[in-house]
Symmetry: C2
Subunit: 197 residues, 2 copies
DNA sequence: TCAGTATTATGACGGCTGTCATAGATTGCA
DNA sequence: TGCAATCTATGACAGCCGTCATAATACTGA
């Protein structure tokens, strides 16, 4: 999976950074490697990202958060039975499919950034916070669309994201999609019960 | 929090490694730093861990898993009202207290190892799998003690660990214990409903 | 065509990493 | 005491890292 050449080099580098981060973590992801992966000239790194690795990583994480957020609406549109549980199943399904297709080598870049650079760089922590927010907000909106009371929706969104993130970790550790399937089945009744009507 | 000097240098180094990993991630944790933190001679590293950093990290992760597993029994013993929901609350409470006491600089070392070295080293991945298992098994046993049917207990244990891991990530990202409190409140009814009787 | 900006190329620098080689010190046992 | 095993000390090594300095090239608009 190479970065699409249709986009500019800057975008490709952000994309490649996100890809490498979610596979190897922030620390093990090198700038030279990002450039190579993006098929972008190494000299462009300091031109497009004068803030250095910190800037590049932060942009990659932020981008990943928005990407996850945008997918929510797409899930919502394609649900045969639009219920909160089905929406959650669509989220986990995406990961199950990816794990089955490409193995357990890659996880969530936001999780990787949270673990790797929360303690060190303040701006990196802010980026992870922004990314989670960009994911939570559309999910909350989707839940209200599915008749979850507005007062309850944010809490359920947090629960859903927390659970899927943890299940991704367990899935990678055990090299099995079972944790994702398990949490999906267990959480569905609770989620659906929250939808009034 | 320095490693207790009562233990031998080997144990202190494993402990210090776990501490540093959960703060900075695997990649950013250096061997020299581990030795310094453990107040152990640098020369002892190659003596006690001939397998190098990989061995040290794996032992630290494995140790962390068993540590988490052993805490389950302690939680269970001190619950005023022994229900699955209360057990989960005890688990999250531990993290809330720690975050409030020492800030959001440190997370779960098993999560860090999963994110940082699942793709690279096979033995590291096995260590994370072992660690999660050492955590899940006692939790499953505890749930059966709390009258959760044996057929259901493993799934709920997976759900609980997934959720707390994800909530830890969100808490660190947002620098707030709110996600932990939220998932605790939301999950309690589901967990308690699983207890027959 | 020319100026000016945007982009790319390349090499070097210091710093840190994990690992190894080698020698020294310490400990426990006979 | 003396030998042996365990442990510690220290320096060096190659490799990679992010960053910077500097120059060459490409492109854009007048």
């Amino acid at each position: 999976m190479t970065a699409p050449r249709t986009h500019g080099p800057r975008e490709r580098m952000v994309f490649a950074a996100a890809q490498l981060i979610r596979r190897d973590g922030v620390g093990a992801t090198g700038m030279r490697e990002v450039a190579a992966r993006a098929e972008a000239p190494r000299g462009s790194l300091q031109h497009y990202f004068p803030g250095g690795k910190e800037q590049l990583v932060n942009e990659a994480v932020t981008w990943a958060g928005h990407y996850a957020g945008k997918r929510i609406a797409r899930y919502l549109a394609t649900l045969p039975e639009p219920t909160p549980g089905a929406l959650f199943a669509a989220m986990t399904r995406q990961w199950i499919d990816e794990f089955e297709a490409t193995g357990f080598g890659t996880g969530c870049p936001v999780a990787a950034a949270t673990v790797d650079s929360t303690a060190s760089t303040p701006s990196a922590r802010e980026a992870t916070s922004t990314a989670f927010a960009a994911w939570t907000t559309p999910l909350t909106a989707a839940l209200t669309t599915l008749k979850v009371p507005a007062a309850r929706a944010p809490a359920l969104a947090t629960l859903m994201i927390s659970t899927v993130e943890g299940a991704i970790l367990m899935a990678r550790a055990h090299q099995s999609t079972a944790p994702l399937a398990t949490v999906t089945a267990e959480l569905a009744p609770l989620l659906d019960a929250a939808a009034t009507g």
